[in-house]
């Protein structure tokens, strides 16, 4: 589990646009990979997302629970596959552009924030190969 501190909170706030709101974030780790289950509100409801990171790159993004009535196109592989192999730049932005979906702007934005956050958090822990 990763306990948050002042500096981490500041960086997380920069990525998400708000404070993390929790004192610790859990993750799973094996063979150099980490798995994060994170949530971020789309319009009003949170999107629960599972993110697998391997070698500092995104291996898989999966929307686990989608609660909004609109924008659920982001659940499908045609969208989430865009994040495969994405990495994080020094400015904590993704190293690629993600194509949006008309009518799902907020969901796309939420998912992208979560992917950035997962990559950032992955860098904060000692990943054992």
């Amino acid at each position: 589990m990763l306990w948050t501190d002042k500096e981490l909170n500041k960086d997380v706030e920069e990525i998400l646009g708000h404070k993390p709101g929790v004192l610790r974030i859990r993750y799973w780790q094996r063979d150099g990979k980490t798995v994060w289950i994170l949530e971020e509100p789309s319009k009003e409801q949170p999107i629960t997302t599972g993110i697998v990171i391997n070698n500092d790159r995104i291996e898989q993004v999966k929307v686990l629970i989608y609660r909004e009535s609109r924008g659920m196109e982001v659940r499908y592989p045609f969208f989430t596959d865009q994040y495969k192999d994405a990495g994080l730049q020094n400015d904590r932005q993704l190293d690629r552009t993600i194509d949006g979906i008309s009518g799902a702007t907020l969901s796309v934005r939420a998912l992208t924030k979560l992917v950035r956050l997962a990559l950032y958090l992955h860098h904060q822990i000692d990943v054992t190969p």
Partner: protein, 235 residues
């Protein structure tokens, strides 16, 4: 027709102003923060029928109160979460307070700071009915059985139902309940909701909606009359 057009225009003017003003404001809901600006006016709260819930649920742990008013959850007098499911129970594991909602566990420090929110994605059993702490383990009575986990909440194991004291609610003292009233009442109705209801006419109930419908028909007739008059003059 000129006269009709004039009278329709005068009548419609009021609605045009209301719709334009509310519409303009709603177009910038996020920038103006309308969904997070809450209404405190007792007149408006009464109009919407918003009152203190009559059956608040409360649990005590380590000299603290965990209370639920409506969908707001309070740790003593501090709101820790809104839009929550039903509060089921509270337990203590070492220095962690475990608050069980219908489909979620909230872990807080002894001063109410949120540590983590755990749901089905983290293995929390579905359909929780009661919780209890036992020798630094958490027991959960759920829809499909009884489960046990340790203070890390990493693994859940089904067990046969043990004899434990499941967490039960306590009557909240009236004085504590009243102290929460301003915080609760000022967190239910957003400015966005009120403006949306004015825009649609719903603020006056179903009749308000019909009035706005009539106004919309009036606008169409006004436009049609105006075009007819213009076409007539143009010829």
């Amino acid at each position: 027709m000129y006269l009709w057009h004039r009278y329709m225009g005068l009548t419609a003017a009021v609605f045009v102003v209301i719709l334009a003003a509310t519409g303009l404001t709603l177009n910038h809901t996020e920038a103006l923060g309308l969904d997070s600006r809450m209404i405190n006016s007792s007149t408006l709260l009464d109009w919407y029928g918003i009152t203190l819930p009559k059956d608040p649920v409360g649990f005590t742990v380590a000299d603290h109160w965990i209370r639920q008013l409506g969908q707001q959850l309070y740790f003593d007098e501090q709101e820790i979460q809104d839009d929550t499911g039903r509060l089921i129970g509270v337990a203590r594991l070492d220095d962690i307070v475990v608050i069980a909602l219908q489909e979620q566990l909230l872990l807080t420090t002894l001063t109410g700071q949120l540590i983590e929110c755990l749901g089905s994605a983290e293995g929390v059993p579905a359909g929780m009915r009661a919780i209890a702490s036992n020798d630094n383990s958490l027991l959960v009575l759920a829809a499909h059985g009884t489960y046990i986990t340790d203070s890390d909440f990493m693994e859940w194991q089904e067990i046969s139902a043990p004899a434990v004291n499941w967490s039960g609610p306590t009557d909240i003292p009236a004085s504590l309940y009243q102290r929460l009233a301003p915080a609760y009442l000022g967190s239910v109705l957003s400015t966005e909701r009120v403006i949306l209801d004015i825009h649609s006419g719903r603020i006056l109930g179903p009749w308000g909606v019909y009035i706005m419908d009539i106004a919309a028909v009036l606008f169409i007739l006004l436009a049609a009359a105006g075009i007819w008059l213009w076409a007539k003059r143009y010829r």
